[in-house]
Symmetry: C2
Subunit: 206 residues, 2 copies
DNA sequence: AAATTTTGCTACCGATCGGTACTGAACGGA
DNA sequence: TCCGTTCAGTACCGATCGGTAGCAAAATTT
């Protein structure tokens, strides 16, 4: 059996889709962010995306897949501060950048308050457990990235020997998660940045 | 028009209810805690409560009222540590007791992980906005209680003059909320207690 | 121009949602 | 004992849930 591999990526036979899939995904992400997985109905989603149910299923699979892809977009978009923070030179700057990014994204004007990775689905009934588990894994993944980064900082002498990277990572992630909840409760950016500053006042010295 | 006022409270005419309303409410609270407001269907709730839909509506009103009453029970039960913590003699002990209580309740074996006041409803669609607002008010109420307590601590000299009680309260509540999210993500009691300890290492001296 | 493929649309699927009408039985007060 | 009230249970309400079938129009390939 011969298979034609599309090298030029220019030959999608048939009528091309009439909407921007990226922008549609962006809209879906915002709805999930604001209303959570269970609270976002297909009607909410598709009307925000500007497409019909048929087009949505053809382009994204189903609601769970749409959520997964929206989370990926969230990770590379509003939550990209997580990856950037890991590149800071010192552990303390990593933590500060991570918390500052969390504050900024959770309180961004024009965007939903809080964090999709937290309020997307913390507790759910049967039909929403896949989404819930996906988000749990997402948060724990972030925690692991921080831990690895702090472990490196210990190895490099950036953090005092004997420092527990696991604890530090959990601590930073806990504060970030709390910031997200507080933002969803209506807390403002300045107040939360002060909280983030306070959370770093006891950081291990270099 | 004459009205008979029931002074003895011993004359409920008609057939008495055949179930323990308190225990039924307890069961409902657990379902809301585990699955959230939107994720808990009436079928889930009533089958856990061991009563029929009719009895539930007669005894508690509707789903929103049931949730409100379940939250009250949660406040006086698993979340009673909040009230106890305020009675500690010093601000630092208040904060420590609050966070320790948050860790214990969020990771109690046999109970759902996390905090009903957080994961009950952080983001919701239209039908769940009342529950969401109720929880937001509940969390902000807790924040206010802490602020008042810390204000008193400042007035009494327990905290250094110039200390910002609002910031302290927000800080403690943020960490507690983060602990709840972490517990819902599977974090264990010991790990979270270490996080709570770390969060208090920079507490203002007395 | 023919062939192919996806579009956008309506209408619909079975299942479940929160909530209620109706019924017969069980209980208390008179 | 009889009346009045509330019980628990079933069956059902309209609405909405996530997901699809079928179709004519549109757009790209060959």
């Amino acid at each position: 059996m011969l298979v034609d591999v599309d090298i030029t990526q220019k030959a999608p036979v048939g009528r091309p889709r009439g909407f921007d899939a990226d922008e549609a995904l962006e809209r879906a992400m915002l709805v999930f962010w604001e209303q959570g997985y269970e609270g976002a109905s297909l009607t909410d989603l598709t009307s925000a995306m500007g497409i019909t149910r048929t087009s949505m299923y053809a382009a994204f699979g189903n609601k769970e897949e749409l959520f997964r892809k929206a989370l990926e977009r969230y990770t590379e978009g509003p939550a990209a501060y997580g990856g950037w923070a890991l590149k800071e030179p010192t552990a303390r700057e990593v933590a500060a950048a991570f918390l500052a990014g969390s504050v900024r994204t959770s309180t961004c004007p024009g965007l939903p308050a809080g964090c999709l990775g937290v309020q997307g689905s913390l507790a759910a009934g049967d039909p929403g457990q896949v989404a819930r588990d996906t988000l749990t894994a997402w948060r724990n993944e972030g925690c692991s990235r921080l831990r690895e980064r702090f472990q490196r900082a210990v190895d490099e002498g950036d953090l005092p020997p004997g420092t527990d990277p696991e604890l530090l990572a959990r601590y930073v992630m806990t504060v970030a998660n709390g910031i997200a909840v507080q933002a969803a409760s209506g807390a403002g950016r300045d107040a939360l940045q002060k909280v983030a500053d306070m959370a770093l006042r006891n950081w291990p010295p270099a």
